[in-house]
């Protein structure tokens, strides 16, 4: 099916954003303390869809919240009464602006685990109700390596509408899925010239070439993946993870990490049960009730992290869990990059 492509310029794009925000419930990167996080916006000046990748949090919390209520409970003589929480996962439709390609890809990767043996209804509902408008970075950050991995960044279908900055000062707005097409049609006052998908494709390819050449990090993914499969007992995990301070930041800001913990806010006999992020870099992540901890030392926890990202997930779901966004390296207080760790081990 052919989807529409529009050609416009900077002002046109601004107008498109304004219209979108006016017509829909919109989320976009909002700056706070120098860091961008996706929040609900009501006007374009509040947010910056072109926020730099190094300062932008992942879009994951909009689908898998940092904390969500699972249930309420009350204990009495008869037993425990469990009730639904008052939290609505997502009532209406929404649009998310300024999502980076790697971030959107992260959601696609997450879909597999959420549609696996247990189907997470809340996640599915949030996914179905969201239209993702992505912007492609013009230049790679020092820690990025998305183009080295096993997905097609150029022709990614992870988002619904993509915005490509042509090298000729033109901007192309292209629908990628039906959801995106519907949104583009639903924005009235769009007086952009319709552009053939060939022209847009050509410009997009040119832009991609320039983007691709700006990467500092390149990885031979196939080789790394193959070698890592036999590296479980590699002694290199210890020196590679020596600097780690087990602070969990990498997992909390990762667009694909999906481990969580269950905790209770308990007052006497009533309580609310929460599902919140957790990280395998935590010393007590694998601590069992009897006191045994299979991963008591840092290198074992880092081995789990690296192998899950580059081997285990691929074995089970066919795609790499790491999307190469570099968020972990940017946010790490001691600049450990998963790229360096896997390269040091293989």
């Amino acid at each position: 099916m052919n989807f529409s492509v529009f050609e416009t310029d900077k002002n046109g794009l601004q107008k498109f954003y304004e219209e979108t925000i006016a017509k829909n419930e919109t989320y976009a990167p909002v700056e706070k303390f120098g860091k961008y996080d996706y929040k609900k916006v009501s006007a374009l000046p509040e947010c910056d869809p072109d926020s730099p990748i190094s300062l932008t949090m992942s879009v994951k919390p909009l689908f898998f919240p940092r904390s969500s209520k699972i249930m309420k409970y009350e204990e009495n003589r008869e037993g425990t009464i469990i009730t639904e929480t008052d939290e609505d996962p997502l009532a209406g439709k929404r649009v998310i602006l300024g999502v980076k390609h790697c971030d959107a890809r992260g959601l696609q990767v997450l879909d597999r685990v959420y549609k696996w043996d247990y189907i997470d209804a809340d996640y599915q509902k949030r996914r179905e109700n969201s239209v993702i408008i992505s912007t492609r970075c013009n230049k790679a950050d020092v820690n990025c390596f998305c183009t080295s991995l096993d997905y097609d960044v150029e022709n990614s279908d992870a988002h619904d509408i993509r915005i490509i900055n042509g090298l000729n000062e033109k901007i192309y707005i292209q629908a990628v899925t039906e959801k995106g097409e519907d949104l583009l049609k639903g924005v009235p006052g769009l007086q952009f010239s319709v552009c053939s998908s060939e022209v847009a494709g050509e410009e997009s390819a040119k832009h991609f070439k320039a983007f691709d050449s700006s990467f500092r990090l390149k990885m031979n993914y196939k080789e790394v993946n193959e070698k890592l499969q036999n590296s479980f007992d590699s002694p290199e995990f210890d020196p590679a993870s020596k600097n780690c301070i087990s602070c969990n930041t990498c997992a909390f800001i990762c667009p694909t990490c999906h481990c969580f913990k269950i905790t209770d806010e308990k007052i006497k006999d009533t309580g609310i049960r929460y599902k919140s992020y957790d990280s395998c870099n935590n010393g007590y992540f694998t601590l069992m009730a009897g006191g045994h901890n299979p991963r008591p030392v840092k290198y074992r926890r880092w081995r789990q992290r690296a192998m899950h990202k580059f081997v285990y997930y691929k074995e089970r779901f066919g795609v790499n869990l790491c999307v190469g966004c570099g968020h972990c390296a940017i946010s790490c207080p001691v600049n450990i990059s998963i790229f360096d760790v896997v390269n040091q081990v293989v």
Partner: protein, 283 residues
């Protein structure tokens, strides 16, 4: 401030004399001008050591991890780091005889923008207070001054101040990187990691973040040395120093100008008793 040569010389001497098992210093990051910690265990890695005014992290944090436990450690400390080390020694977290401390008389480090870091501008003790060997010329103790943003915040009313901190807590993602990056947070099981409690339940609700961060800052009140490792670690760039500096200011004014870790065996303000302590808050 470039002490790379001196530090490399000392480190290789220590390894040659078999005085240490591990040396904790700084290494140049491969692709930008930032520096990251390096734990040197073989003399061959010594040439990677570096020390310039970009050596911002507090390395005493590494004294709580398994790589350095019960080992003989060589470590580089700046003024603020040495105060943290003093606290760790006072609280019996490290053994002095296991340490070989290289004290730097610091002239201030730079932030990401290349300007002098804020905590260095208001530094009280740029010279190392614990050391076996000293590098640089001592500049002596400075006058205590509270930073402008802390003063401004303190001048605000209780409600306004509460609102400002509420804003901070709302942007917290509860990763606890601040705690893990703090050299003085060494508890193996932290009280904010409880799984079923009203105050701390690990969830990312504003109230849970509020209680966790407040408790954390109060456990560091009178102990915090203003190295700002927590702020550098925070992925949300929260101004966490406001919490600590606020505490520090109140303690300095009320508890005989107490500053953490300035002297050996000087316990935190809340761990010692003095007849001069104010008692007007006791009912």
């Amino acid at each position: 401030m470039d002490y790379t040569k001196q530090i490399q010389e000392i480190a290789s001497k220590l390894f040659a004399e078999e005085k240490i098992d591990i040396f904790i210093g700084y290494r140049q990051n491969a692709f930008d001008d930032n520096q990251v910690p390096i734990l040197v265990t073989v003399p061959a890695d010594v040439p990677n050591l570096i020390f310039t005014d970009k050596s911002v992290l507090n390395l005493t944090n590494y004294l709580k991890f398994e790589h350095t436990r019960n080992k003989r450690v060589g470590i580089v400390v700046k003024g603020c780091d040495s105060r943290a080390l003093n606290m760790l020694l006072t609280e019996s977290q490290v053994k002095r005889e296991n340490l070989y401390v290289i004290g730097i008389n610091c002239t201030g480090v730079l932030n990401e923008k290349g300007e002098k870091a804020q905590n260095c501008l208001e530094c009280v003790m740029p010279d190392a207070v614990v050391y076996d060997e000293m590098i640089g010329t001592p500049s002596g103790k400075k006058e205590y001054s509270v930073n402008v943003d802390v003063k401004e915040l303190a001048a605000k009313g209780l409600v306004e101040r509460g609102e400002y901190f509420q804003e901070i807590f709302e942007n917290c993602i509860r990763c606890n990187a601040c705690r893990h990056s703090c050299p003085l947070c060494y508890c193996t099981k932290c009280c904010i990691d409880q799984e079923s409690a009203v105050l701390y339940n690990g969830s990312n609700t504003p109230s849970s973040a509020f209680h966790a961060l407040m408790t954390w800052s109060l456990h560091l009140a009178g102990r915090c040395v203003d190295c700002r490792n927590c702020e550098k670690a925070c992925p949300s760039h929260l101004p966490l120093h406001l919490l600590h500096k606020q505490n520090e200011m109140v303690i300095y004014e009320n508890f005989q100008q107490h500053l953490a870790g300035m002297e050996k065996d000087d316990r935190g303000a809340f761990y010692k008793y003095s007849m001069k302590d104010p008692d007007d808050f006791i009912m």
